[in-house]
Symmetry: C2
Subunit: 343 residues, 2 copies
Amino acid sequence: MPQDVRFDLPFDTPVSEHLEYARERHLRWVRETGLVRSRAGFEEYTSWDLPQAAARTYPHASAEDMVVLMNWFSLAFLFDDQFDAGRPDRADRIAEVARELIVTPLRPAGSVPRVVCPITLAWAQVWDRLSDGMSLTWQTRFAASWGRFLVAHCEEVDLAARGLAGNLGLKEYAAFRRRTVGIHHSIDAGERSRGFEVPPQVMAHPVMERMRDLAADTIGFMNDIHSFERERRRGDGHNMIAVLRRERGCSWEEAAAEAYDMTTACLDEYLRLEARVPRMCDELDLDADARERVGMGVDAIRHWINGNYEWALTTGRYAAAKEGPVATAERAGRGSVDDLLTV
Amino acid sequence: MPQDVRFDLPFDTPVSEHLEYARERHLRWVRETGLVRSRAGFEEYTSWDLPQAAARTYPHASAEDMVVLMNWFSLAFLFDDQFDAGRPDRADRIAEVARELIVTPLRPAGSVPRVVCPITLAWAQVWDRLSDGMSLTWQTRFAASWGRFLVAHCEEVDLAARGLAGNLGLKEYAAFRRRTVGIHHSIDAGERSRGFEVPPQVMAHPVMERMRDLAADTIGFMNDIHSFERERRRGDGHNMIAVLRRERGCSWEEAAAEAYDMTTACLDEYLRLEARVPRMCDELDLDADARERVGMGVDAIRHWINGNYEWALTTGRYAAAKEGPVATAERAGRGSVDDLLTV
């Protein structure tokens, strides 16, 4: 199945001018912090081009913040890959590290991790910068979004460790995917990247809540389509195409076509809600400044939908044809060639 | 030092009419769930009279919700007592259980715990009821308040395990006490107990944020005064009177007098801010319904300040003179006679 499945997005989004400046500093950082260790790991990591993903999803970040956002992406993606199907007992260590990542934003700034490994040390450093200047309300929202994602990630790993990853029904999978995709906190970070906050009464409004969920669904399903070959290689059943194929008893091609239609349906509903935003602002009686921040909040969602999409079309992470140590590791059920959960 | 140190609170608060009904059901529940096991543990537990604390701090809860709130209090207080100075390695198990308690509100309702013991099973059950009918915004706020408290609790246990509990300076201790007292989530629960929510823009306002912090300081310092003898018996240096005595090189009596003055200073500042609430509502241009919910939010804080105070004057938990297995356990550095962290 090809990686570069195209969607018709009715909006375009910018790319940060700081991409190359930040990429260089970021790549130095991942080696210094031990997040990428082996030569094979580094080659694989650079092929993913996460700096491009960060530059597209946070196009308005300052040059220095762009480095921090790239650093954050690296630890999140690399942690995501630490499960090893050949070592199901590793699920407990993943849960331990995930819980450390969850509690970091609940501690005062500058605290040191209680569970120490390259991932947790990197996150403590990134969080100090990511939280800088943001209100308690934003930090609370980010901490909960991030925590919900990591809890869901652990559930995914636990299912895989018990050999049950491919057993979810369609409805159950869709609800689970919304949690594992990690979009809510990614959108939250958009506010930090541009130095603003969406008014709290807007964040609590059903229109905004639903828009965020639909963005998560859209991106999660798109990701399942674009990353399909990597996940098939890893034997990972946590993919909408695999779920549909089993549920419908149809071919891979038919399952992929239905996943495509589900994705565009989510995107369409998202767009219909976007059109209701001005009415929501009227209803909440927002002034011009608050409306501007709502507009930037909607931008942050768009940056994620389109930025992630453009990146996914070409990233080496999802490449269909892959050879070498990384492909061998993936075929053996490992996501990564480097172990990042031990000191 | 006497337990019943009096403060001059300029407001009174009601007591739930469901106290006795809920007490009976609650006491059955703590035995059924294994939260209280031994005879000595049950006698000690009933002497604390946590049902009175719940009935005073959540006076408007329904009869059934009152049982749930009492159940919640029991697991929180009993977990708080699980550290054993003779077994510093237990700090790791406490952290593991605390992190399970933190992630429970980040999971979908009805999920089962990943770390299983009487405390985590009880909390999963309580959270299903405590979250029922509350918005995502409230659940997010509660989860973060609760998580910050539990993280601070683990830090306190870690300090005790390393024999460093009594080494904090005054300023450091005051900041730490605000986190370990656990008042923010306790006030959050007031909304659930009465079936309303404070508008999110009010929760994000500096006046409300500061009022919550000052309520936490007031209650934390009062608690240090009322629970002083229990903590001295346990050799627990996490107490304002102990900190002041060391910091000032003064007598216990002088330290207690200064702690008293600090408490009333916090209370006075809280009251000055309460008087600014109508202006905050004007500034936020709130309608009558929103103002009513703000008023109930302020009530929830008052219920905690006064309800906790009235309970602390007489609870057996803080009794100065105590004999028997519980006092022996306390003198040996254990908070509890029953182990609740294993299955």
